[in-house]
């Protein structure tokens, strides 16, 4: 006997609707059906006006972050069956909605840019002309943080980021830590100056929502606190 699931989806076109509405779609449960596949099923067979973002379908691109049954997660790697008979699907919270499940990520990217999310190398490249080498131990230090796919699940679950629009937020700071902890990066001092600002690491109240919601299980709060520690001791020692 086939089982059906009700998808309760947030719908809003800001140009037409003043307030969002929730629309129900019945869908037949098939083995291995993910939330994203269910959304595609609705788009292709039931309602062509449904808007959402996705690309890789394999938890790599970070496009499909959504708020599913009260939790931020990736639609493409989430199985529908364990979520119950009625599944509530909403856009990532606290970012402006462009349409339905697609949010405006401008604010997120602006902050990402602020932490200078690339290797800052001051020294000349090695004489071999090849890559800058790193020991296995040094690489281990950034293993977890390299996994970030910029899906914004952390950023949009951070209570401080909800209340303080200027706060850099967990995603940008996790990226900063990825470079601060990288033995090849030489932008450390400059990065810590950015982190020490009013809108930087000290806005983090260690609520751990970011760490809870990260689909890649990155210990984001740990990274933020590591930067905090470096700034704190740097200031106390008069180094910055």
């Amino acid at each position: 006997m086939s089982q059906t699931v009700t998808l309760r989806i947030y719908r809003r076109d800001p140009d037409l609707d003043a307030a969002p509405k929730y629309q129900n779609y019945q869908i037949e449960l098939t083995p291995g059906l993910t939330v994203l596949m269910a959304l595609y099923h609705v788009l292709e067979n039931v309602d062509k006006t449904l808007a959402f973002r996705a690309s890789c379908r394999s938890a790599v691109c970070g496009s499909c972050g959504m708020h599913i049954n009260g939790k931020n997660m990736l639609a493409c790697e989430t199985q529908l069956a364990p979520l119950g008979n009625e599944v509530l699907i909403e856009p990532l919270p606290h970012l402006p909605v462009l349409k339905d499940l697609a949010v405006d990520m401008t604010r997120f990217w602006d902050k990402y840019e602020k932490v200078r999310p690339y290797l800052i190398a001051l020294k000349a490249p090695p004489p071999s002309g090849k890559e800058r080498l790193q020991s296995v131990e040094d690489r281990k230090k950034i293993d977890e943080f390299i996994d970030c796919i910029l899906c914004a699940c952390c950023h949009t679950s951070c209570s401080t980021a909800w209340w303080d629009k200027e706060y850099l937020g967990p995603a940008a700071l996790a990226k900063m830590y990825r470079f601060v902890a990288d033995s090849r990066d030489e932008g450390g001092a400059e990065r810590l100056q950015i982190a020490a600002r009013e809108d930087g690491v000290f806005r983090c109240h260690t609520i751990f929502n970011c760490t809870e919601e990260c689909p890649k299980k990155i210990p984001i709060t740990f990274g933020i606190q590591e930067i905090k520690k470096r700034v704190l001791w740097g200031k106390l020692a008069g180094r910055m």
């Binding site: 947030y10 969002p20 929730y22 708020h67 009260g70 939790k71 509530l88 909403e90 919270p93 606290h94 949009t156 679950s157 951070c158 209570s159 909800w162 109240h205 260690t206 609520i207 751990f208 929502n209 760490t211 809870e212 919601e213 210990p219 709060t221 740990f222 606190q225 590591e226 905090k228 520690k229 704190l232």
Partner: protein, 123 residues
């Protein structure tokens, strides 16, 4: 509840509960401080006034309330230590066991204080 109704992210992790507990106990302590100042200020009306207030506050119900206050201060204080620890960069990856351990530790002074207060509550 749909997300559009929320003003705070509906996080369900232990860290979010600790955060709420810290804000609420902090507010309660601030309210207590106001009441405390109010009581102490009766001294302005002379020693008699103040003694009168003190006698009134010896009633068992106030001792019981003070136990509540103690619990609130212990939670806030012990969790505060946890936050300081994290801000110095220690134990962040062990946040959950640290929270549980500190709350368990906070029970000890509470039980001692309760034992001392018991005869004053049930007179």
């Amino acid at each position: 509840m749909p997300l559009t109704k929320h003003t705070v992210y509906p996080g369900r992790g232990l860290g979010m509960w600790a955060f709420w507990l810290h804000r609420l106990t902090g507010l309660a302590i601030a309210v207590y401080l106001l009441m405390h100042i109010l009581v102490i200020s009766t001294v302005v009306g002379g020693a008699g006034n103040f003694n009168e207030a003190m006698k009134f506050l010896k009633a068992p119900i106030f001792i019981l309330l003070e136990m509540g206050l103690l619990a609130i201060i212990l939670i806030h204080g012990f969790n505060g230590a946890r936050i300081v620890l994290f801000d110095l960069g220690y134990g962040v990856k062990k946040q959950k066991p640290i929270f549980i351990a500190l709350m368990a530790l906070a029970i000890i002074p509470f039980v001692i204080a309760f034992a001392v207060a018991l005869p004053h509550i049930f007179v």
